[in-house]
Structures are given as structure tokens and as C-alpha cells.
């Protein structure tokens, strides 16, 4: 009899443990929360960029961007957060690049900060609303290619299957939009993936 009671207690104990293990946690390994500080409008005060990204379903995830103490997101992007960077593309203009991953592609979207709002800068080859900014397997870059004091947007596309070559697109910033003005093939030292 004692044995039966002990076994029953043990089974109840096991079931309690299993119940405890099924309680969902709020932070999972597929979620990231990151805070970046950038002086986006160059007023000497840093903005706090709060990024929350989660793989809520098996699909591509969602990235929410909050600025300073916002309760609702300033931006909601489809995709899992990959990176954020700022560039001073010309005197007095700093832009924020947010990159998210969907599938094997990186979607890089570029913003300027005006009147406490992120304002997206379009890229001439984007196909909004299907996609905004640049979609490529690699990060674009900002470089002052022609030494005119304004950075160009440089976008790279890989070849399929890969080879020691990639397609390069150059975009000039004309105060409203990054306008594509040149495309060429470039030989790379290593195979370009």
C-alpha cells in the first residue's frame, strides 16, 4: 500500500514538473531586443532606437522599431532584424539603414530623421509596395565614389551559380531619392556569394 502511495505522489510530482515546463516564456532564443543610440538629426542629442525582432511564426518574423519613449512602434518591418547603421552621406544629413532578413535576402531600408519621425528615402529600383529599399544577399554600402562630398549608395548582387564576379549598381542621392545611374560587373578576389 505504501508503495502505491509513493508511486502516486511521484507521478503527481512528475506531472507538475511537466506542467511547469510548458509555461511559455516571453523571451525565446528566436527573439532579440536591442537598443542603439544615434544622433540621427545631428542636434547633439542622441536618439534611442529600440529594436524588437521576433520569429513569431515559422515565417520571416517581424521587426519593430521604437524611438525614444514611444509606446507604439515607429516602424514595423517584415523580417528578422539583421543590423542597423548610420552614415553621414553629406554635410548635415545623417541616414539610418535598417537591415532585416527574409529568406536568404537582406532588405536594407534607408531613413532620414525629420521632426522626430523616420522618413524613408526611396531607392529608384525598389518596387513598393512589394519591397522598399534594396533586396540583395549582401549589404549595400555608402561610399563617396566620385569624390563630390556626397556618398553614393553601392549595391551588390551575386551571380547564380557563384563566380568571382558580382553586379554592382551605383545610386546618387538627389535630396529625395537614391537614383540609379550606373551598373557594371566587377571581378572579385574570392568567389562572391
Amino acid at each position: 500500500m505504501k508503495k502505491v502511495i509513493l508511486v502516486t505522489i511521484y507521478l503527481i510530482f512528475l506531472s507538475l514538473i511537466s506542467l511547469t515546463n510548458t509555461v511559455p516564456t516571453t523571451i525565446t532564443e528566436e527573439s532579440i531586443e536591442t537598443i542603439r543610440h544615434y544622433d540621427l538629426d545631428l542636434d547633439g542629442m542622441e536618439e534611442l532606437i529600440h529594436i524588437r525582432s521576433s520569429l513569431v511564426t515559422l515565417e520571416d518574423g517581424v521587426t519593430n522599431i521604437f524611438i525614444n519613449d514611444q509606446k507604439t512602434p515607429e516602424l514595423t518591418l517584415k523580417g528578422y532584424f539583421e543590423n542597423s547603421r548610420v552614415y553621414d552621406i553629406k554635410k548635415g544629413l545623417r541616414v539610418l539603414e535598417i537591415a532585416v532578413t527574409t529568406g536568404k535576402s537582406i532588405n536594407s531600408v534607408i531613413y532620414k530623421y525629420e521632426k522626430s519621425k523616420l522618413v524613408r528615402i526611396p531607392v529608384s529600383t525598389e518596387k513598393a509596395p512589394s519591397f522598399e529599399g534594396v533586396v540583395s544577399r549582401n549589404y549595400p554600402e555608402f561610399k563617396d565614389v566620385d569624390n563630390d562630398g556626397v556618398m553614393e549608395l553601392v549595391v551588390y548582387y551575386r551571380h547564380f551559380p557563384f563566380e568571382k564576379e558580382r553586379t554592382v549598381e551605383l545610386y546618387k542621392f538627389n535630396d529625395d531619392i537614391f537614383q540609379k545611374y550606373l551598373e557594371y560587373e566587377e571581378v572579385t578576389e574570392e568567389v562572391y556569394l
Partner: protein, 377 residues
Amino acid sequence: MLLIHEDKTKRVIKGKEDIKFSSSSVLHLIILTGRAKSEKQISKSSTDDEELTIQIDGKIFPKLGSDSNRVLDSPASINGGKSHNLSKTVYILTNLSGKEHKIVLTADNPPGSAIFGSLQVYSLDSVDTLTLEPKLQAEDGDRREWITFVLDKFLLNSFTVELNLKRRFIDSDDVKVIVDGDIKKNDRSILHKLWYFIASIFTGENQTETFHVNLSIGLHYIELWADRMPTLRRVIFTGLAFEEQDSIEDKIRKKAREFGLDPELMVRVAIVESNLDPLATSPVGAKGIFQLMDITIEQIAKLGYKITDPYDPNQNITGGIMYFKWLYEMYEGDKEQLEKTLAAWNWGPSNVSKNEPLDYESLPEETRRFINKVLGK
């Protein structure tokens, strides 16, 4: 036997070092020489021996026994505690898939350093009988590990060892033979029965013995330990055969069939992604044959398959095909099922509607190129 890679630059290995080589052959003999200090040779306060371990295309060579992943203290490593800063040579007979290969040398921490002596990589055609003539003399020193032959997924009937041993007044040359942890004992000397070849019991300076081991397919270690300065003149492996390994394409085809997908389609996807290179890594960290992103690997884990090494061809193929299948089923019943699957594979399923027709004009340029290349358009 064709030499395809050689590195004779002696150096200290601190932490990790990658050595890459290209070869389309399947069968390879890799010869690594190095040395490592025991803890006493490092300093009085040291509590750990130096050790150099080797990994080839993600394959590890662990200690045989219960802990199957422990590479430290394995006969395939160069362990200072067992070799006492005297040169040790490891011969690894292995078969490799694909063309691009990577050897990773790792120095154990602490103290995190060991001496690399040399590395040679040979490709081989056939292996029923393999004769090696290293003419390798041990450095002078007391009983320690000297040479290990690693047979990776091979069977072996017998091997013959030809040695030259010098008889000396006080301490002569001896050699111990260990096969998969089993010390071969001689019946000629009660005092030295664990040392199979002993010069002091004079049977001539040149001694030869054949060991009939009948090892089944698997990972095997044949170790030669040296006392003083014996020379290994020749070793002959007889009845050697390896487990036939599928090519990368065949592995993909098999796995695709298992998942009910078109095998040739999946081979094309892999070619377009990585040219079937298991070690391909993109600048943003897409890895292996199917160029899996870290986030995709997490998604695959959610589908029930945990990838621990995306550069392992088997894991990458299984995970990649499982993910493709999941996408394919997502667009089940759609007349553009394949095109949508490929678009979602490249650009993400959240961007490819299940209900709307696929609008090629609104796809990113790279996604369009990817689909066209896989479909041969």
C-alpha cells in the same frame, strides 16, 4: 598517390588555424607532424598538457570508447602528456566529399599552443593494399606516442610493420603496437611483453611482423609508441576497403526522394546556391551547400531538425531539403507552386502570397535571377 597540398612551415599554433585545399578525389591520406609539451615541460605551475587536435571537413577523430565526442587524449591528436615534446606523426586515411576541403588545427587551452611541423595531403586512387615507406626515425627519448594511423570508416584485414631497431648497451630501441586500444603483446620476453618489437632480444636490426586484425568498417587507430630511436621503414595495409560514400549530388537526390521532392530540382538548387561546396560561406554568413542563414537554421529547428554543424553536408542537406519541403507544401495546390517556393526560398515566405499570383515584375532582381537559373530559363 598524388601530393596535392604541402605545408612545411614550422610554427606555433595558438588557438585555431584553418588550412584549405582543393581536391576532387574521394580518398585522401593526410599526414600531420607536430609536437606538444607536457605540463611539466611547460612550467612547474602548469596544470594542463599542450595538445593539438585535427578536424577535416567537420569530421572529428575522438577517443574510442564511451565518450564518442572527446577529441582530447585521442590517439589522433598530438598530446604533450603522451609525446613529451617529441615529434609525433599522424597518418589519416579518409574519404572526403566535394571539392573544397578544410583542415582545422586546434591547440587546446590552456596553455593554447603547440608546434606544427608539417602537413601533406595526398589523393589516392585505390586502396586494397596500401604501402607506405616513411623511413621515419623517432627522435631520441623515452617511451611515448610516436605514430598513429587513423583509418576513418575503413575495414582492414592485416597490416605489416617493418622496423629498424638499434641494440645499445644500456637502452635499446623498442616499439609498442596498439590497435584500437588493444596492446599487442609479444611472447618473447616476460619483462617487455607490452613492447612488441624489442631490440635487446636480438632478432636482427630489421624486424617485420604482420598483424591479422580483421577490423570491420569503422574508425580505427593503429598506434606505434617508441622507446629511443626506432625507424619505421615500411608499413603495408592489406585488405583495406572503405565505406562507399555518396557524392554530394547523390546525398541530395536520396534525401529529396525521402521527402517526396524532385531530386534533380534539389540538385539544381544546391548548385545555384553553392556549387555543391559544403564549406561555402557568404559575406553575411549563409553557410554550406544550401547556403543556410542562421535564422533559417532556427526555423529548421522549429520544424524539428536541429542543425549543429551547417558545414556538415548531411546536416545541411537534410535541413535545407526539409525547409524547402515546408515551403513547397505552403503553396500546395497553386499552379505556380514551384515558382512561389523558389521565390519564398530566396526572398522569404512572408513576401510571397499564397493567394495572389506571382508577379515577376515586382520581385527583387536577385530573386528573379535565382528562380530563372534554377528553372533553366
